[in-house]
Point group: C2
Amino acid sequence: MSDDYRRVDEGALRDYTAAILRGAGMTNEGAGVAVAVLVASDARGIESHGVARLPQYMRLIDAGVLDAAATPAIEREGATTALIDGHNGMGQVAGDYAMRLAIAKARAHDVGVVAVRNSNHFGIAGYYAMLALEHNLIGLALTNSSPLVAPTGGRRPMVGTNPIAVAIATGDDQPFVLDMATSTVPVGRLEVYARKGLPLQPGWAVDASGEETHDAVAGRAGALLPLGGTAETGGYKGYGLGVLVDLLTGVLAGGLYGPLISGLWDATAPSDLGHLFLALNPAAFGPRDAFHERARDLIRRLKAGARAPGVDEILVAGEKEQRAVDDARAHGVRLYYSVARALDDLGQRFGVGNLLTHAEGSTG
Amino acid sequence: MSDDYRRVDEGALRDYTAAILRGAGMTNEGAGVAVAVLVASDARGIESHGVARLPQYMRLIDAGVLDAAATPAIEREGATTALIDGHNGMGQVAGDYAMRLAIAKARAHDVGVVAVRNSNHFGIAGYYAMLALEHNLIGLALTNSSPLVAPTGGRRPMVGTNPIAVAIATGDDQPFVLDMATSTVPVGRLEVYARKGLPLQPGWAVDASGEETHDAVAGRAGALLPLGGTAETGGYKGYGLGVLVDLLTGVLAGGLYGPLISGLWDATAPSDLGHLFLALNPAAFGPRDAFHERARDLIRRLKAGARAPGVDEILVAGEKEQRAVDDARAHGVRLYYSVARALDDLGQRFGVGNLLTHAEGSTG
């Protein structure tokens, strides 16, 4: 596998991709925010939401359906709440702006809730939830997304993979970070399995007739199943969570929702996605240190629990990603050669050299 | 099946069970609240959390590990937040009190968050979330509970079925009400399947060695699986949600959590459960009518979606339960004879007659 990727210094990758995004019309500040989110995704081992997506963002910008230069603005505001118009800019810019506003409100009033409309794909939801951690706040981030999931009993994709992310500090360097799509698997998983000819697991997808399928190609033609799979295995709960996210994002903020959202990376119409961000001060409910101690104690107990056969370790949400970050900091971010080549193409287009030049200080 | 149950007028059932709870030492007000939650559960078709649980609550009261007479009190309060000490009383009383406080705070400040510690089983989480509806607020209710679920990769029950409930008004008589345990199925399902000798579905349970099992008796000796089942089918997401609920309830409020919580209906130690309630004003983000219209439109579109073979209708969270309520209002609440007999035993003990006498005005 190590032949497939190279290692690139995180800072160098940020600098290079920021130069590309500035070339595409983003402001200095906006490009800095966007690449912080994208590269954090790669560092966390979630390559599907990282810099590999730059060519797709670029196609939306080129088609004029995403305004790279846009900056978000407050449309409506109260002491604890706000509505942000993303002005059809990069979702990362609107997301970062909105989460920081929620944090400011929580610092003043113990809780802040900020909704965003007229936005685009914002990358990993966990990034925004984690912004709360440095302020000793609990962070929550939700977004709706292109329809890929069938409702329980349905056979067409009508709900996004609508992720839920929550970050909770524990007083050490291992926060609890849940960042989960409300489908069983991401759509990229079906693409990989289709390419490799591998059978799907139960609960992943239905075919175009609505029957559960283990055939990846048939699944791509059908729809993802919500977390829980079919009705018999609790899929209506994952479906319920997906609709909940839609109600709290696009529906609440006044953007698009459910089947009204255009297809993934569709370059014919603006996305008008909705997000929701919440920050909450745990110290409003009692001493922070005691809260952290209880959180660490729960995590310790879970990890010390009796394991199933063949299991080396019980993990807690965010632990695997934190290890990927530690690895990326020490050895550089893993970047597939195919992705590096695509970035170099963009770099050439915008006259910012190639990644290798930029990444000379790389540890890879 | 109709031989198994009778129909009892909802009000009569409330009056009768309230009389029992007053006999057990609850205040008038407390008993009224507790039976409102319990009977609402029966009316919604969730008998597992309804008046059938009265004998179990009674055993906790008799054992002196639950204080029937207790009233909750504010321990800590800010403009938008509060911490409630449930004083080891009935969870319904603390839950109702705390949710109404969260609602009052949201009416004043657009959002309110109230945590509860030192509480007991509070019945269905959806009841509290739905209290927000009559104030045109979005309601959320969480509680931790006795460990029944194995962490992904584990083989012992260490996390509760920790439910998540969210209620969102849509401007008509069909609100969106998601009320879901974060396990695939409730533990009662295994009990029923064990009794009937039926095989479990995939993703429901592991045996004591940590292997997934389709044997209900083996599952009872092992643990429930989180929503999503095993790791391959996304079970780490349900496990993550269960731990999230623990962190936002027992851990945040300063109660017990995870494996520290005593067994279900264990009468040897106080439960010290934690709950969390949140109310949010959707009108803070834009006109309420437009929000409701978008919510109804999303629900209409989901219901009108293409269906899988053999599926009569696509449902949205809360729809099935609302139909059960309509049926209960028209024809009386379904009450299994075994449950009615258990209630009559309690009625006799506290000198409040039997259910039939109380339910003379019943439609059943």
